[in-house]
């Protein structure tokens, strides 16, 4: 069967109400004309009765609910557990595009690691005036305690989930580097499992790169961080430190621990004696060599950081300093994903690697700069303003969708503490078809690939495609009504 005429295709379900605008469309190069790598999916959707898809969606939703693939929403005591909405239509990325993303992210993470090593030691980049000194020292996530501390293999960021967006011209740009405790990888794996069930033939015919080895790669990365003095004793003991069952990503913590076959621990399971970390087991104490911590810097060690934290382990920082335990990620990486430092990443890449960045940045206005601030304050209704140290879609103003009150509020906040804010143009994220209300509808998406850096750098081909499920919305964060879909990176 040949592809129907474009106009005809768009008059049939499930595409009858599919909308186009200036945003880049992942599936169509022109209304009704699918891009070459989307043709088989397009054809499948035309041939498939919508009822079938609807049934699959229900089955998938139910299986997510039964498996308890949920996340927790803060600030809402009743019904805090929510299923993370999953969309059935895969997002497809051709091989060549992926290669570019891969080389761009490898370059970026390498440079950011060198940057972290530098600012916590000699500070050459600051002395050379490439990155302003006050920008680094005024960052809330800069940890003085880390000055001069030698981290295993010199790797600060071992696990990273960078947010990419596709601009209207079709190229990918980096929106945010998440260098602290990025989450979402479990949804990438869960989505894949569901899609293999829903579209087995299509999946096979497409030749999709597998992602199932992520857990194994993560474990290898973590093991690479084991202290040198532990190698002779036994296989390094790796644990995942979770803040506990009330954390929004708790499902992911249990999932990863199970997939890697390591212990999931809470702060109260660990103790430090004589600068060595132990966990409390039924057979007595057991030494811990590497901690994949999903707890923020602030809460890691009440003796060193926030005193009232009950999530952390008293004495952990000293054990780390003594080189008796490895941490992933290292403490103090938040400085490099500060949204104001972000603006300097292209210069950082050129400074350390002598290369041009493969992936572009989104234009960013630093509000600590007077002229840029004035420019932004006049255009609050057109720009996006973000607090530099926040993540997860919190602390953010989207100009075109804001009320005058919200803008006044942000204006006051910016004037009170300009260093704490940046502004960016309102990006028109690319759109991809999603199966909603029984038909295909266009929704804005981004892409979060996961990068692992241990003995070497590994990118699992794919990532989490996050979807802004509300019509017209540009916010893809799970905490703000976002969902996700599987990402298919094609083999060659």
């Amino acid at each position: 069967m040949t592809l129907p005429e474009s106009a005809l295709a768009l008059s049939r379900p499930p595409f009858r109400n599919y909308q186009f605008d200036s945003a880049y469309d992942e599936m169509f190069e022109a209304p009704g004309v699918p891009r070459p790598h989307y043709k088989p999916l397009f054809q499948t959707l035309l041939d498939l009765p919508p009822e079938e898809l609807r049934k699959s969606q229900q089955a998938a939703d139910l299986s997510f609910l039964h498996q308890g693939i949920t996340f927790t929403v803060y600030g809402n005591s009743e019904g805090t557990e929510r299923v993370f909405p999953n969309d059935l239509l895969p997002r497809i990325i051709p091989h060549a595009e992926w290669r570019k993303i891969e080389s761009g992210l490898t370059q970026r993470i390498a440079a950011l690691n060198l940057f972290l090593e530098d600012i916590y030691h000699a500070g050459k980049i600051l002395a050379d005036g490439v990155v302003p000194r006050e920008l680094v020292y005024s960052c809330r996530h800069f940890r003085r305690e880390m000055r001069g501390l030698q981290v295993p293999r010199g790797i600060y960021v071992s696990i990273c989930g960078t947010d990419l967006v596709r601009l209207p011209g079709g190229s990918f740009a980096v929106l945010e580097d998440n260098l602290r405790v990025p989450s979402g990888v479990s949804y990438m794996l869960a989505n894949r499992k569901v899609l293999k069930k829903v579209f087995p033939t299509l999946f096979r015919d497409y030749g999709v790169c597998p992602v199932d080895h992520y857990a194994q790669a993560l474990l290898a990365t973590l093991r690479a961080l084991a202290p040198q003095n532990s190698s002779g004793r036994h296989e390094p003991t790796v644990v995942l430190l979770t803040p506990g069952v009330f954390n929004s990503a708790y499902f992911e913590h249990t999932f990863l621990a199970q997939q890697m076959g390591i212990e999931l621990v809470e702060g109260r399971d660990l103790l430090v004696h004589d600068n060595v970390v132990y966990m409390r087991t039924t057979a007595g104490l057991r030494r811990v060599d590497v901690i994949y911590r999903r707890v923020d810097d602030d809460y890691l060690d009440p003796l060193c950081f926030q005193r009232d934290s009950s999530l952390g382990v008293p004495g952990l920082f000293n054990a780390y300093r003594a080189g008796n335990v490895g941490l992933a990620n290292a403490i103090g990486t938040g400085i490099a994903d500060d949204k104001a430092v972000y603006a300097y990443v292209p210069q950082i890449i050129r400074y350390y690697l002598g290369e041009d960045p493969v992936l572009e940045n989104v234009p960013t206005y630093l509000l600590s700069d007077r002229s840029q601030r004035d420019y932004v304050l006049e255009r609050l209704d057109q720009l996006v303003v973000k607090a530099v140290g926040e993540s997860g879609g919190y602390g953010m103003l989207i100009g075109p969708h804001s009320t005058a009150e919200q803008r006044d509020d942000f204006r006051r906040r910016i004037q009170a503490d300009p260093r704490n804010y940046i502004a960016q143009p309102t990006l028109s994220l690319s759109r991809a078809p999603c199966f909603l209300e029984g038909e295909a509808q266009a929704r804005h998406v981004d892409l979060r690939p996961y990068i692992l850096y241990g003995e070497n750098m590994t990118l699992v081909p794919g990532g989490l495609t996050r979807v802004a499920l509300r019509r017209g919305s540009l916010v893809v964060n799970s905490s703000q009504g976002g969902g996700s879909k599987d990402t298919w990176v094609l083999r060659a």
Binding site: V265, R280, T282, A283
Partner: protein, 326 residues
């Protein structure tokens, strides 16, 4: 310090143990009410109030302060009342919450099964109709618990974690069955070696059914119910899974296995369970009944509490100083 291959976190062991206790408690409560509601159909309404008092005592739920003893209020109190920590919904929720905290330790089938049971109970609680079909509901809770046990036994490694699950289930069962026998024998002081008849016959059937034991008893002793035989069957039968003896044997087996796995053999919990086991294997039913069922049952429950405390102290909450020396 331990170098054992797969050590288990104390917190995890604690959660598995409590998860299992809560689920056993939910199942026990469901069975008791199920049996009770059916017996009630054959009785005069006056007899009903006494039954409720007995039921509340057997479940250790305090009688409501306003003294309201109507069926609807009490059924709600015991099944869907979140304010009552022993209600079925509270127990199932607590079991699920405990398992949720150690999800990575169990098979995904186990988690799905328990989660499904929880969602079922929760949706019953949030529907306006309350308990539309109570028989179905109590059946579903018991089936859900049985399924979970089956899934557990066939999909989880029978290692240390599994033994904590066994331990929780049978510690809870020992205590619950012992309590049930005690309260029954004090309410119905029937001549021990005579067959019970008419009105009271139903009560004794009820006791056996509450332990899922009626059919098994009939197989062993025919449908003629003699209190002495009933007591012997429920206390001392070595092969019936809801007898006290069987439950204590399982507690002992689990503790021995855990002792071996953690290389802590001579510890207190195993000793206590061993002593309890010996008491039950060597006791004669007429001796027990001569000194009163209540006293015997109380002593069993007291030792059970001691075993629980010892387990807690040795495996879950030991002092760091003692562990560092070892």
């Amino acid at each position: 310090m331990t170098d054992r291959e797969n050590p288990m976190l104390s917190r995890v062991a604690d959660s598995l143990y409590w998860m299992s206790r809560y689920l056993e408690r939910a199942e026990h409560t469901a069975r008791l009410i199920d049996v009770d509601l059916q017996l009630r159909l054959d009785q005069s309404p006056e007899a009903g109030t006494g039954r409720w008092i007995g039921l509340l005592a057997a479940l250790q739920v305090p009688t409501p302060e306003d003294g309201a003893l109507d069926a609807e209020t009490l059924t709600y109190l015991l099944t869907l009342d979140r304010a009552n920590p022993s209600s079925i919904i509270s127990c199932v929720a607590a079991a699920r919450e405990n398992l949720r905290q150690v999800r990575e330790q169990c098979s995904s089938d186990m988690w799905e099964q328990l989660n499904r049971l929880f969602l079922h109970v929760k949706s019953t609680a949030s529907s306006d109709a309350g308990l539309p079909d109570s028989y179905q509901f109590f059946r579903a809770v018991q089936d859900g618990a049985h399924l979970f046990q089956g899934v557990t036994d066939s999909t989880m490694s029978h290692g240390e974690g599994w033994h904590y699950i066994q331990l929780g289930r049978f510690v809870e069962r020992t205590d619950a069955v012992a309590r049930l026998i005690g309260s029954h024998f004090s309410r119905f002081p029937h001549a021990l070696d005579q067959a019970v008849e008419s009105e009271e016959y139903l009560e004794w059937v009820g006791l056996l059914k509450s332990c899922a034991a009626f059919q098994a008893y009939c197989k062993a002793h025919t449908a003629e119910l003699r209190p002495l035989r009933v007591a012997e069957f429920l206390l001392l039968n070595p092969g019936f899974p809801h007898s006290v003896r069987f439950s204590v044997d399982m507690v002992h087996a689990a503790l021995t296995a855990i002792g071996d796995l953690t290389e802590r053999k001579a510890e207190q919990p195993v000793r206590i369970a061993g002593r309890l086991r010996a008491t039950l294997s060597f006791s004669q039913i007429d001796e027990i009944m001569a000194s009163g069922a209540m006293a015997f049952v109380d002593s069993i429950r007291w030792q059970c509490t001691q075993a629980h405390a010892a387990i807690h102290q040795v495996y879950f909450d030991y002092s760091i100083e003692s562990a560092l020396v070892a």
